[in-house]
């Protein structure tokens, strides 16, 4: 991602942001509220379009006009609000806008059996024991919902999984489970982009940390070569990059 800039009216949300992600690594973006972390994510996942700059993905410049285009390219996002439909079942949510159908064109009917089976496989390969794929999401606990959302992001052979505050609303145990999932995604060779306010978590999980401040990406550090103090100093601006 090179020189990415985006303004909402008079507010310059991003200024010449440069950052890189590697497959098989967890890359974290940290920064204070309003630093532009979520905006970067929305640019990558096709919700916002950058005013200038370019995103290079798999070696070629890409430009996603909508979330669907990004999903087709293998970029899945776990949004902060999870983007699950409470009144639909787990399998319906997993296959939302990815439904398997019999037949073609306007007479295509849903292949509910195949989707249920596929959902069961997705859920079990990720060792995410949500109660049952045919239960409604409304019945799930916070951690189970998070698991379904991550499962959806990880399930469709995605190459890049973006997670915006995946554990912000979770308890200690469920956070541990989600972290385990993130490690698993990494070990499968996918790129994971993690946004978190939890420094301990960032230091524990990530391979590389990018620090954002006031719409700029001010520093990038290998996690192994940095410390919590240094990152805090970078975020607050006490230390220059």
């Amino acid at each position: 991602m090179r020189d990415l800039s985006l303004a909402f009216g008079p507010v310059q949300a991003l200024r010449d942001v440069n950052l890189q992600l590697q497959p098989g690594e967890v890359t974290a973006i940290v920064g204070d509220n309003g630093a532009g972390k979520s905006t970067v994510v929305r640019c990558i996942s096709g919700i916002h379009k950058a005013d200038s700059g370019e995103i290079e993905y798999d070696g070629s410049p890409v430009s996603f006009h909508n979330p669907e285009a990004a999903r087709e390219a293998g970029i899945e996002t776990v949004h902060q609000n999870l983007a699950l439909v409470d009144d639909l079942t787990v399998w319906q949510n997993l296959y939302l806008n990815r439904e398997i159908v019999h037949g073609i064109g306007p007479v295509a009917l849903l292949d509910r059996r195949a989707m249920r089976k596929g959902a069961q496989e997705m859920v079990s390969t990720l060792a995410v024991n949500v109660p049952a794929v045919s239960s409604r999401v409304r019945r799930l606990s916070g951690g189970q919902r998070q698991a379904v959302a991550i499962c959806r992001a990880a399930g469709f052979s995605s190459k890049l999984v973006i997670m915006d505050e995946p554990t912000a609303a979770l308890g200690v145990q469920e956070t541990a489970r989600v972290e385990e999932l993130i490690v698993r995604l990494k070990s499968e060779g996918r790129a994971v982009l993690l946004i978190s306010h939890n420094f301990a978590q960032v230091l524990r999980l990530s391979d590389h940390v990018w620090v954002m401040r006031a719409g700029r990406c001010v520093a990038g550090r290998r996690t192994a070569e940095t410390s919590g103090e240094e990152i805090v100093a970078l975020i607050t601006g006490a230390q220059a990059a």
Partner: protein
Amino acid sequence: MTQTPTPSAGRRAPTSDPTTATSSAGTTTATTTADTSAAATVPGGPSQSWTHRLADPSFWADWAALIGLVVLCVIFQIGNSTFLNINNIQAMLVAASILVVLSLGQTFVIATAGIDLSIASAMTLGAVCFGSAFGNGQPLWLCCVVAVAGSASVGLVNGLLIGVAGITDFIVTLGTLSAAAGAALVVSNGQPTTIVDRFLLRLSTDGIGRIGWPVLVAAALAVLSHVVLFHTRFGTHVLAVGGSKEAATATGISVGRIKVAVYSISGTVAGVGAILLVARIGASEPAANTAFLLNSVAAVVLGGVSLFGGRATIIGPVLGALLLTALANGLTLLGVSEFYQPIAVGVVVVVAALIRRFQKRAPRPLLPPEAPRALPSSRCETCPWPSARSRPCAT
């Protein structure tokens, strides 16, 4: 309708974290024993046993229309033994068919958390378009096409204003309610057109065996609607848009396109309703048909469809429409003045809403319950996830 905890919910929820229950009480109901045990053992799957379902109050709320219909049938049958006479049942089914058709369209709209207030006006416009074409000596098939096109255009305008221009459903359809009624007056010049045609006469009086054509048309549309809503991608997307606009957008579903589609469906079925209406009364009138509008919304609500979208069935609104028709018919048979019928409809709808208010739903905790005390044995040995299955999970 907001969910509120039932009085006993707090006490009967041993597995739910009390802070969770209170913090989420504003939007969702608290845990109940029935719900947690269901979620832990047989969570809402097809394996859910009938005894479980019967113990769940939401089952009763979902089937309020059917239960109400049975109760009404019993009461009216006791009051007047001709109520369940085969001829009266036939008459009721035919009388209900227009309302059933309109309710189907209304269901699609309400499933996306919208409301179509213009549905009856669209039907009126379709009917007078039919009359106008008929008056000009057009062939009958063309009259039918004109009727459907007239009504569907109202739906399309609704859809474009709501889905593309982004104006609130209520305001747009309130506007088109008035505009379509006005257009009907303009097209018809305020005059009813008498339509005498053998095909239409047969449509309203004949049928296959003892089942009238209007009933068959309504039944066919109901089956089609069910297939569309539950067995196509489009139907899933309709429910997704109604359930969570944000989730739908994030997964790449175009909310605007779905809105245009559901309002167009609503307008199109209003056109079918217009043909049935013309056949039934043998004329096209620029009448307001307000009762059809209110009853179509009432039937959908009785049928257990959430006005907030995301939850819908087809059988529910159909039963709701049958219930409302049976109510009017039964009161007439009992010799109650027809002036009381709107009151009865109002009472039934509010009571149905009241039942739904007290139905219980599984909780949606803001914070997950720590340490699942209720399921120590069902935890998987090798992975940290609580397993719903008795055997250890795959890893």
